[in-house]
Structures are given as structure tokens and as C-alpha cells.
């Protein structure tokens, strides 16, 4: 769990994900559409990490913003002929931000189970609207016929997903910069403080409620953008972006990667979606069983997720190394 005290300088390891992503672009051209999907999920997981991992807001309704963003972009394109990708992103961000600030301002006064239920109810409402207003959203059939104009009038979305991949990568990079900046700022430190001890943050005079509303809105905006990206990549929106299930999936991804860490949001979706791509189609039963088992194991034994485990192994190894060195020195004497 990093906070204000750790060094905000960008370390060399932090370039790894980007190098890997670019490597994937050149080495695995047949997987680029899956790759683009993974990138949008990473952006979405990043936004959840901000409120769940740092601010400690437990939500089962983060799909409301993702879905709203996805539908905003889709509706603009399929119903109103707005095909410019940036315009779509902007509209999706604005819509999600509006929903985020209006619901956040109301529900963040509650906590624990009540908050959980409220977030769940909100995403269920959005799902219900998307389902029923089929003249606008296509209802259960989904919204097809989404067209996206070339980015900046130059780069067309091609069949192999090359443009889509790079486009999502750039968006993710920008999102990452913002989140990273937020986390290492005094604002981020305040969020961590609220997560760890809300009463004390009240006592030192921090405006807890407003901080929570602010971070909730920021996170909602990012989720909306991620949703719009997904629409643009798939050129289709379905009801499966809303409701309890996508929220649950996202939660699982983030937990697997490591919640409350910037890069947990990167590792989780990559592992989850690739595993899903391989396993879920062939053995759906085993897939669910495995994911469930993995979740329980992570909760009981490995609280930091995959990244947490790596950290632990590294620490053990370093310790063993230093012990080895000191004993070697002792025997040399």
C-alpha cells in the first residue's frame, strides 16, 4: 500500500507494462482485439482501484458508469450520427461524471451494507432503463450499427484492431498518469487516511465527505471513458456492461491483481481476461469453480493479490540473500 510517504518519482519498473503492451502490438497481431479489450478493462479497474483501493469505498455498482459511458458513445453514434471518437469520449465522460456526482453526493453519506446496496440498486436501475428503453438502446438485443470516424481524420479503425489497440493504449496511459499523480498528491494521502481511519480524518479537520464525492466523481468519469472505449472497439453495446455481474467481474480482477496498488489494476484484468479467453469457452464450469476458489484463497491467505505475493517472495529472497551474505562474512572472519 503506497501512500504520500513513498517516493513519487517514476521508477524504471514502471515502464514495463508499456514496453510489454508495445511488444504485444508488434509480436501478437492476431490478439490485438482482445488486447484492446484488456486495455479498456485495465482503465476501468484503475478507476475502481482509486475508490476501492485508496478511498475504501466498497461498491458493487461501478458498472453503472462504465455502462453509461458505453451507451452514451453508442447512442450518439448509432442514433444521432456523431462519429467523432473524441466527441463520443467527451460526452461519455460528461454523462458518467454527472451520474457520479449526483449519486455520489447522495449515497456517500452512508456506509457499509447500506452503501453497498445503494450502489447495487443504482446500477440495477441503469440496467433496467437500458433494457426497457429499447427505442434508444436496442434493449436486450444490444445496440449495433455503431460507427466511429477515423481518429483525427487520419487513423481508421481497421479490421485487425491495430488502431483500436494503440488508441486504447494512449487513453490508458493518460488515465494512468492522472491516477498516479492523484495518488501521490496530498489528496491521495487524504484518501488513504480516510480509508484507514475515518474518525481521525474528521478530527484533523479533513473534509471527508467532499473528498469522497470528488474521488467518486473522478473515478466515475474514468469508468465512463473506459466504457466508451469499449463501445468504440467493439462497435457494439450490449446489456452485459451493466448490472451486478460486470461489477463483480471487475472486483474479482482487481482483487486478483492486488487492490490498493496502482499496478494491481494492470495485472488483474490481463490475467483474468486471458484466462477467460482460453478456459471459459471450453470449460465454463471449471472456470467459475477456479475463479471462486482463487478468490477465497486470495481473501484468506494472500491479501495483496498476485502483486502482493510477488512482493512477499521478493522480500523473503532479499532477506535470505542478506542473511547468506552476513553468514558468509562471519565465516570469512
Amino acid at each position: 500500500m503506497s501512500g504520500y510517504t513513498s517516493n513519487p518519482r517514476i521508477r524504471w519498473q514502471e515502464s514495463l507494462p508499456w514496453i510489454l503492451a508495445l511488444g504485444a502490438f508488434f509480436l501478437m497481431p492476431e490478439y490485438l482485439s482482445l488486447g484492446a479489450r484488456i486495455l479498456t478493462y485495465i482503465l476501468w479497474a484503475l478507476s475502481l482501484d482509486l475508490i476501492l483501493g485508496y478511498a475504501g469505498i466498497i461498491t458493487l455498482g461501478h458498472s453503472a458508469f462504465f455502462g453509461l459511458g458505453a451507451y452514451t458513445a453508442g447512442i450518439l453514434s448509432a442514433r444521432y450520427g456523431v462519429t467523432d471518437p473524441f466527441l463520443q469520449l467527451l460526452a461519455a465522460a460528461a454523462a458518467a461524471a454527472l451520474l457520479g456526482i449526483s449519486t455520489g453526493a447522495v449515497i456517500l453519506r452512508t456506509k457499509a451494507l447500506t452503501l453497498l446496496m445503494l450502489t447495487l440498486a443504482i446500477t440495477s436501475i441503469v440496467l433496467e432503463i437500458a433494457n426497457k428503453a429499447s427505442w434508444l438502446t436496442g434493449g436486450a438485443d444490444g445496440l449495433s450499427g455503431v460507427t466511429v470516424a477515423p481518429i483525427l481524420g487520419l487513423f481508421k479503425f481497421d479490421l485487425f484492431g491495430r488502431t483500436a489497440f494503440l488508441y486504447c493504449l494512449v487513453a490508458l496511459f493518460l488515465g494512468w498518469l492522472i491516477v498516479r499523480r492523484l495518488i501521490y498528491s496530498p489528496f491521495g494521502a487524504m484518501l488513504t487516511g480516510i480509508r484507514e481511519n475515518t474518525t481521525r480524518m474528521h478530527a484533523v479537520g479533513a473534509p471527508v465527505y467532499w473528498r469522497l464525492v470528488l474521488v467518486y466523481t473522478i473515478s466515475a468519469t474514468m469508468a465512463g471513458i473506459a466504457g466508451a472505449l469499449l463501445t468504440q472497439v467493439n462497435q457494439f453495446v450490449g446489456l452485459n456492461v451493466l448490472g451486478l455481474e460486470p461489477s463483480g467481474d471487475l472486483l474479482v480482477m482487481l482483487i486478483l491483481g492486488g487492490v490498493g496498488r496502482l499496478y494491481g489494476a494492470f495485472v488483474g484484468p490481463v490475467v483474468y481476461l486471458i484466462a477467460q479467453d482460453y478456459l471459459a469457452k471450453q470449460y465454463p464450469e471449471y472456470w467459475y469453480f477456479g475463479i471462486g476458489l482463487l478468490l477465497i484463497v486470495v481473501v484468506l491467505f494472500a491479501r495483496g493479490g498476485i502483486l502482493g505475493l510477488i512482493d512477499k517472495v521478493r522480500d523473503k529472497w532479499l532477506q535470505a540473500l542478506s542473511r547468506h551474505r552476513s553468514s558468509a562474512k562471519a565465516s570469512a572472519r
Binding site: 452512508t110 451494507l113 446496496m117 436501475i125 472486483l251 467459475y288 477465497i296 481473501v299
Partner: protein
């Protein structure tokens, strides 16, 4: 009413014990499957099969409680939520492997199949039976929690666990029994309602939202709350679908939000 029987179990585990257990539907599903299997394969009569569902589910839940849940009582809400989601996924996979994709067949005994004539109108016997059974259950539970020594001990342990422990109540043992009771009730509810809410592998996830709404709206740790909430939700839902079908489940969620904002602890909840 089924919602009530299932949810009151949840209200007991969640409210009395303070554990956010999203996996409650799992126990209900297990109850339904047990009923179906026992009746179809072994030819056990319906009432006995119900008792069987209750007992087996509570015994199973004791094992789970000792092995897994008890480790997480002190853990944060997030771990509890995640843990129970994991349990849901695993149970769904197991159910699908063992029982297949189709809903489990339920054979009601003949005496529950017919119609009852009350004041000139016909009511299906099965539903009347459900209503009476639930009413009986409410009375029993209320008596158990409010008037018996066990109930007093549970309430004491919930209010202040360390104090209850220090006056000589074995709280971990007590919680185990309470948990078994809550899960057993879920199993019973699942078995009872198997004809109305079909038992299939996606059961725990599908009905999760309704259970949670009933508990949250009713208020944690109260017996009367989920009852009122289940009635309210049931009636409102049916009425909405009847009069304004284009809104669907919309109003239920809106009502939930409204009630929770008005009374964050639920209608009958006690401020913790």
C-alpha cells in the same frame, strides 16, 4: 413469502452476526436441490424432505463456518464480500456439474396441488400452505430470539462480543449455532419455494439482489423487518408489473434507494 423465509435466515447471519454474506443464496439453492434429489431418488415424502433440506444445509454450513467463515468475522467488509462471491461462483460451478443445466424437477404431493375455496375465491393450496408455514415460522423465531435463553445470549453476544465472552458465554460456539440456523432457514426457504423460484445453477446470483434488498430494507438483525420488507417488495413488484409493465423492476430499485436514504439502517434496523 419465500423471500421472507430465505431472507430471515440472511437477516440472522448478517444482522445478528454482522457478517456480509452474499453467498446466502447458495444455501437456499442447496436446500432446493436436496429436496428435489431426496424426493425423486429416494421417494421420501415432502414434509420429511423439507426437514432433510433444513438439517443437511445447517450441518453443511457448520462445516463451512468452522473452516472458512470464522476466520473472517474480524476481517473487513471487503474480504467478506469477496469471499462470499467466491463461494457463489464455486457453488454455481458445482451445481452445474452435478445437476446439469436444467432446473431441478419438484414433485409436489397431491394434497398441496389443488385449490382452496375461501370466501368464494380459489387459491392454490401450495401458496396458502406457504403463507401459513411462514407465519408459523415468524412466531417461532420471534419466540426464540426474544423469549428464550439462547435468544438472550445471541443478542448479548452481538451487542458486545467480548463482554459476553467474559461473562462465560461461549460466543464462538453460539455463533456457529446461529449461523447454522440462518443457513438452515435458507435451505428450508429454497426447498419450500422450489416450485415458485425454480432451482437451477444460476440461482444464487439471480436472486441475490432480491434477498439483499429485503434484508437491507427490512433492517439488519430484526425478525420483523425482513417480513415487512418481503411483503412490501413482493406486493409492490407484482403491482408494478401488473399496472405499469414498461417500468419493470425499476420502481423496486427506486423504492429501495428511497427507503435506504430515508432510514439508512432499514425500516426496523437498530442503530449499531
Amino acid at each position: 413469502m419465500i423471500l421472507y423465509v430465505i431472507s430471515v435466515g440472511l437477516s440472522i447471519t448478517m444482522g445478528l452476526m454482522g457478517f456480509i454474506n452474499l453467498a446466502h443464496g447458495v444455501f437456499a439453492m442447496a436446500g432446493g436441490y436436496i429436496l428435489s434429489t431426496v424426493m425423486a431418488r429416494l421417494g421420501v415424502p415432502f414434509p420429511l424432505a423439507l426437514a432433510c433440506a433444513f438439517l443437511v444445509v445447517s450441518l453443511g454450513s457448520v462445516v463451512l463456518e468452522r473452516l472458512l467463515y470464522s476466520r473472517l468475522y474480524a476481517a473487513g467488509e471487503l474480504s467478506q464480500v469477496l469471499f462470499s462471491i467466491g463461494l457463489i461462483l464455486m457453488s454455481m460451478a458445482v451445481a452445474r456439474l452435478v445437476f446439469g443445466n436444467l432446473a431441478a424437477p419438484i414433485f409436489l404431493p397431491d394434497y398441496l396441488r389443488g385449490q382452496v375455496h375461501v370466501t368464494g375465491r380459489d387459491f392454490p393450496t401450495y401458496r396458502v400452505f406457504l403463507i401459513f408455514f411462514s407465519a408459523l415460522l415468524i412466531v417461532l423465531l420471534w419466540f426464540g430470539v426474544e423469549r428464550t435463553r439462547w435468544g438472550a445470549m445471541v443478542r448479548a453476544a452481538v451487542d458486545n462480543r467480548s463482554m459476553a465472552q467474559s461473562v462465560g458465554i461461549n460466543t464462538s460456539h453460539l455463533f456457529m449455532i446461529t449461523f447454522a440456523l440462518g443457513s438452515g432457514l435458507a435451505g428450508l426457504g429454497g426447498a419450500l419455494g422450489a416450485d415458485i423460484l425454480p432451482v437451477q445453477w444460476s440461482y444464487p446470483f439471480e436472486h441475490l439482489v432480491s434477498f439483499l434488498i429485503v434484508v437491507a430494507v427490512g433492517g439488519l438483525g430484526s425478525l420483523c423487518g425482513p417480513f415487512v420488507a418481503a411483503l412490501l417488495i413482493g406486493v409492490a413488484d407484482t403491482a408494478c408489473k401488473y399496472w405499469i409493465p414498461e417500468f419493470g423492476a425499476f420502481l423496486i430499485y427506486a423504492a429501495t434507494i428511497g427507503i435506504l436514504l430515508w432510514r439508512p439502517m432499514g425500516l426496523f434496523g437498530v442503530r449499531a
